[in-house]
Symmetry: C2
Subunit: 373 residues, 2 copies
Amino acid sequence: MTDTRSVGLVVPQRARFDQALNLRSGASLPGFELVFETYGELNADRSNAVLVCHALSGSHHVAGVHANGSPGWWDNLVGPGKPLDTNRFFVVGVNNLGGCYGSTGPMSINPATGKLYGADFPVVTVEDWVTTQARLADHLGIDCWAAVLGGSLGGMQALEWTLRYPDRIRHALVIASSPKLTAQNIAFNEVARQAILTDPDFHGGHYYEYGVVPARGLRLARMMGHITYLSDDQMAEKFGRQLRDGKLKFNYEVDFQIESYLRYQGDKFATYFDANTYLITTKALDYFDPAGAYGGDLLAALARAKADFFVASFTTDWRFAPERSRELVYALLHNGLDVSYAEIECSAGHDSFLLDDPQYHAVVGAYFDRIET
Amino acid sequence: MTDTRSVGLVVPQRARFDQALNLRSGASLPGFELVFETYGELNADRSNAVLVCHALSGSHHVAGVHANGSPGWWDNLVGPGKPLDTNRFFVVGVNNLGGCYGSTGPMSINPATGKLYGADFPVVTVEDWVTTQARLADHLGIDCWAAVLGGSLGGMQALEWTLRYPDRIRHALVIASSPKLTAQNIAFNEVARQAILTDPDFHGGHYYEYGVVPARGLRLARMMGHITYLSDDQMAEKFGRQLRDGKLKFNYEVDFQIESYLRYQGDKFATYFDANTYLITTKALDYFDPAGAYGGDLLAALARAKADFFVASFTTDWRFAPERSRELVYALLHNGLDVSYAEIECSAGHDSFLLDDPQYHAVVGAYFDRIET
């Protein structure tokens, strides 16, 4: 049976930008390419475009399926008749600069050396991503997004759009996100980075030249990450103390189902994700802090935003807890902005934002319904 | 100035047990040695002995100072006039079997091979530890402990004493502990183990023979561990987003103070702790589940306990949350036992049990005051 609510087969596109890009770090790139996908049709007014920003391990492949059968990471949310309805909206997904799914990044050729960038690819930030996304908007003829939407790190990009280009975004949807990371968030990122950086196969980030990848480090980073994406309660429900083979082994093979799950997730991730991209992306997370330039005053930092906001958090998300979203909502409201906030009961922790939860999808859909195109 | 509330200089002692030890795993040891310390004097009735059990990285060195100046890990709690008052009690600290502070463990000679045990040292459990501690009690002429006390994994040993030797313990003090680990707890332990097991310097646990230690793995395990020992709030208070050198570096050196703290803790730990002991100890944590043999029925599992209990938890401890202690208290009360429970407001997370918190020390001291000797 064909899924009539799917955008169906999609083919990634590519855009090249030849103007130099000055990055927040002070480094610059002579030019860059972005891989992206689009779903639905841009209307005559060009007023129905929605940008979907991805999180740590996401990509431009948001919805539909690739020829190899691979589904988009937010396919449950984006499609004809879905909460972000491609019958009404022209939706754009983009692989961020520094990514490992085809946009210019550590696995691209460094024109200065003729070799792969590897660890020489500069650290990029949420601000840099938004700059490159604006160039993509220019390329597509989109002056103003109807909405920019993202979860987790993607939500930070949606928020940054309202600050960097307040006249180019009408609605920002910031889901399971935060105006900045806590010390605990940074701590988890740092352990993940150290796992990669100290893997002997990392070779100072130039592992491509050695024909290896720092799989041990990536695997550990992902295993630890998964603990923080799920809630304690959901882990208890899903795995509890279930043994994989019915008895304790008194060695270091798999005893408990949760161990099996984490090893599987870690092993899989290490086969397809790039370690340099992982490093860059965790730094982008750590560095995002729009209030930083305002002495920590988030109200002042958000004063230039004009967009309407939809903010959502999940009760069991301890990585980006509801409290972080409430701080954001408070600062937006005190700037006189139009803010809708949903705190959704969902047991799945941070990963809830990726799930097909009825209450969650209902409020996102209702919000998009009221956006004029 | 001399600290008049310190037990002062202490010298570890050693006892050898030549009777074979059958372990829960089915393996056995032909004999073993335990390193221990004692503080205070055993009274004529031998009725004032208190055993202090250690947690993951602890040792027999509970109180006082060694000749090298090293203080006991619970020196703030144990000493003359302190909550566990060595003027009244004869206190025993012991390094657990499988440990790396002198008791028989992976760094001991395996009599079967004449080489160091390394990874051939069997996985030992909380139950096994209590068995060996009972032999130490025999050796010291202690028929019945006035109390057995421990925090975290140490609390599990105190609880196990009440089940394994109900007639040899009058009071159990179970602090910041749990009757079993959750899936999330096991998950963190598993990532730590994988960090060690996949370190190329681990050499299947026989790294001693190669003149190396799996320092990368141990360091990562400890860094991650530290995140779980502290509370989110305390990390925010203590470190927040403070930068170490006043500016972002846009590389993978230390940006934030929290990164510096974790690296320091990890580096230090890797210089003195044994990786095989770390592996064994995390398995002992994972395996402890007295209700397991009773189909998960903790009430039934605790039916044979006779001791009085003091249970304490800390409001910000998310590793062994107050809920876990409440489950234990509920099951003890429903077995008609005498239980005192304190849920202590302390911002320091799981590590609170090691701190000199006035409210906490007051309730522990009050409990010991009422123990007859």
